[in-house]
Symmetry: C2
Subunit: 467 residues, 2 copies
């Protein structure tokens, strides 16, 4: 076979030098045709669109042709010609075909129309489907948009540790990390496990948030963001929970709560706009196949300013709705931690656009949030989105050393774990703010997928760590 | 104090509208001067360069002035004027100063000239030093360069899982991840721990590489890269080992070993050039303070093509050197796993430029590498760098199902863990290649730092998981 440099299919569709001899490589999606001519739909993962390869059967070896089945991997040399029937501008008239890898009829993706549940069981192969190809190309693009957004603004990407010896946030259960031999645990006389022999010489876990370390960085480098894996050992088998997920946590010195809201709104609009601008084919596919309102919902977010509303005013709206007969599953009262149904009511029914809810009761928020003068509420801000509910949670941080210490004592957080965090308030403290975005939450919104297990390549959930 | 929008110091130095009234915020690095005029060097982390704030003492409150100590956080309104003495084009004549955060004399960074060991103990504050500010800004820039390089080439960023239930690589010891109560481990009659109650229903660990999952993605999406944390539970207390580090692993369908070498060379040159082009101030600082040959070494890498040499020829050169009287600590013979001293001899003494060594004995490389026709060597490629030794390791992968199975059996790798990986060879297999770059190895090279604990914010090493 003549050696010709490979053209990716996504690049082929941009070319207009019809008549050129090109090489494409990829996997057979379908093959159909007559006894004279066959049409092979070839996909190489670079785009959701297949290139049509036209095969004049008389020119090819019969035994080779038998190997061209769904899933087989081909290298094709041929002439690039204008296409009328293939749905694309370009198709290829095959001159030479090499079968790089055969694919027999045990291939699980031969037939179409598999359930999402089945595809999760073959997560090692599902990136080869149109749906997951689209989802994972969008996932890539969202990651790139995030880095570009922050880099262009002069933020520094900061890697906070995954393994940690302190549970400062106390946010749910953690995974323990150990190299001890579980068959031979050393214990002291009181029966306590001696961690001296463990890898880190003490008990260690997987982080639930990089925020506290992010604050260390922000009070040195100014503006930083994290983007890395985060872990929760909650036994939650829902379409919204993962044990291992990716978080983005910007933290900015000198930003107050208003700056923080501006940043969050600009940031998430940037990401959504990036998806519409750079993933048009993939978004359109998901819109047509799964969620007919997807594109409209994405465009909707970009249209208006987000509503900014205090928690207290939000509760009033919800109480009014209840008074007027709206039924919620969970009760509504000042002090309650809002459920997704409440958040979505505000966004989808009442305002019909995203809402930033602020100034929550201190009891339902973390210790590090800045106390308001009322001593009842803190400068928290949650961004609420249609279909998703809370997509971003953040706050201005308490920058006053004494107030922070008082709050830590009030909540009985062990002070011995907090000395390094408190040092930021002790030595040149400054106002600062930040927020966290669950990457997979963003992806649920942007792809229209309804289960969080379908926007991450290999989901980790209770009883599932396959592949 | 009048409210004026903040200008980051890095942006201030780009302005030329002298006479403008500006606001800067940052931390005091030094304060000196006479009884009439003081000069405050202010840094906000956006650049290694301080802005000089000129304070006419007569205009300010004496009590406030006392609070302007090293480490204090200030907000300064003032007039931007051309500077002659400050080392920068711009300085600020203060009109108003607000002390946002005081800093007393217990601040550990008051005096200069701390040892790197001491700074590691206060890793929560060290980003505030010139050295670590420079290192972490470069770290950010290298991450951005990596994403930009691959995105521009049409690669997709792919998140492989951190928690895994299989140890396919068998590359060293792994950390176990568990939610079991270690005080109440369930065992069966034979005395084996029953993992049924553990979070994932089986024994789980932290990944040592995302490569195998990366191959799944490459054989679907074409060209992918990973960039995420990786873990090794080796008890190695050396300046080159971390228990938690970041890896970049590109994997490309249809690339052979030659394409792979081209990609690796282009990639690493791109990163080094990015550092020289975009981190000039920080690189120069590190060059002047720590490593006078740093810039020369970085430029050296860009100058020439890397040498490409087989392992067998490399061994001959080393054996010649030994014959001529060169002393190595470790023996040299065909079949040996090269030590850093051997790699550096080839690079620094013999060729005086980077070397890509290929076709290693199969015994010292992983099972998934493509066997050469000699049945003795595999299509591995290691990129060897001055000062660092191996900076990249990669290979063309074995794409033949039967050969791969034979190799897995030969090495007694449990086949039951490998079914999903083997499926890529069973269904539409294709030639493909990839490599891994340890992010911190790249940073050691680019920053000139000599201990890997000084290029990651919070190093995890034996007996150390602080902050």
């Amino acid at each position: 076979m003549e050696k010709i440099g490979r053209t990716k299919i996504v690049d082929l569709f941009k070319r207009e030098d019809f008549g050129a001899v090109v090489n494409v490589k990829g996997w057979v999606r379908t093959r159909r045709g007559s006894k004279q001519v066959n049409f092979i739909a070839l996909n190489d993962g670079s785009t959701i669109n297949n290139v049509q390869v036209v095969v004049d059967l008389a020119n090819f070896d019969e035994e080779m042709l038998k190997l061209i089945t769904t899933g087989a991997c081909l290298s094709v040399n041929g002439v690039m010609v204008e296409s009328v029937g293939s749905g694309q501008k370009v198709e290829i008239q095959a001159r030479e075909i090499e079968v790089l890898g055969v694919c027999d009829n045990t291939y699980p993706l031969q037939k179409k129309g598999h359930s999402m549940e089945f595809l999760r069981e073959i997560a090692h192969l599902r990136p080869r489907t149109n749906t997951f190809g689209a989802v994972f190309r969008i996932r890539h693009n969202m990651a790139i948009a995030i880095h570009k957004f922050f880099h262009d603004k002069g933020f520094f990407y900061f890697h906070t540790p995954l393994i940690t010896a302190s549970d400062c946030e106390g946010a749910g259960q953690m995974f323990q990390v150990t190299t001890m031999n579980l068959y031979d645990l050393k214990k002291n006389e009181a029966g306590s496990i001696i961690y001296d022999d463990d890898f880190f010489g003490k008990q260690a876990s997987l982080t639930v948030s990089g925020q506290l370390e992010g604050e260390l960085a922000a009070t040195a480098l100014g503006s930083i963001y994290t983007f890395g894996p985060t872990f929760r050992a909650e036994n939650s088998n829902t379409p919204r929970h993962l044990a291992e997920f990716w978080m983005i946590e910007p933290e900015v010195a000198f930003n107050d709560i208003l700056d923080n809201m501006d940043l969050a709104e600009e940031f998430i609009k940037y990401c959504v706009k990036w998806a519409l601008d750079n993933c048009a084919d993939d978004v359109k596919f998901l819109n047509d196949m799964f969620d007919k309102e997807l594109i409209e919902r994405l465009q909707g977010v970009l249209k208006d300013d987000f509503v900014r509303l205090s928690y207290t005013d939000g509760i009033k709206i919800l109480e009014d709705a209840v008074a007027k007969g709206h039924k919620f599953e969970f009760p509504v009262y000042w002090g309650v931690d809002l459920a997704s149904e409440h958040e979505r009511y505000l966004v989808e029914e009442h305002f019909k656009r995203p809402v930033i809810l602020t100034d929550y009761p201190k009891e339902i928020k973390a210790f590090y949030m800045k106390m308001n003068d009322d001593n009842k509420t803190v400068r928290a801000m949650d961004v609420l989105f249609p279909k998703i509910g809370e997509i971003i949670g953040g706050s201005e941080r308490e920058s006053d050393y004494n107030k922070l210490v008082a709050r830590i004592e009030e909540l009985h957080i062990p002070m011995k774990d907090m000395w390094w965090y408190l040092d930021t308030r002790k030595f040149g403290t400054c106002p600062h703010s930040g927020f966290g975005l669950g990457f997979e939450r963003l992806l649920l919104f942007v792809t229209g997928m309804s289960n969080i297990r379908d926007v991450i390549p290999f989901p980790r959930t209770p009883r599932n760590a396959e592949f």
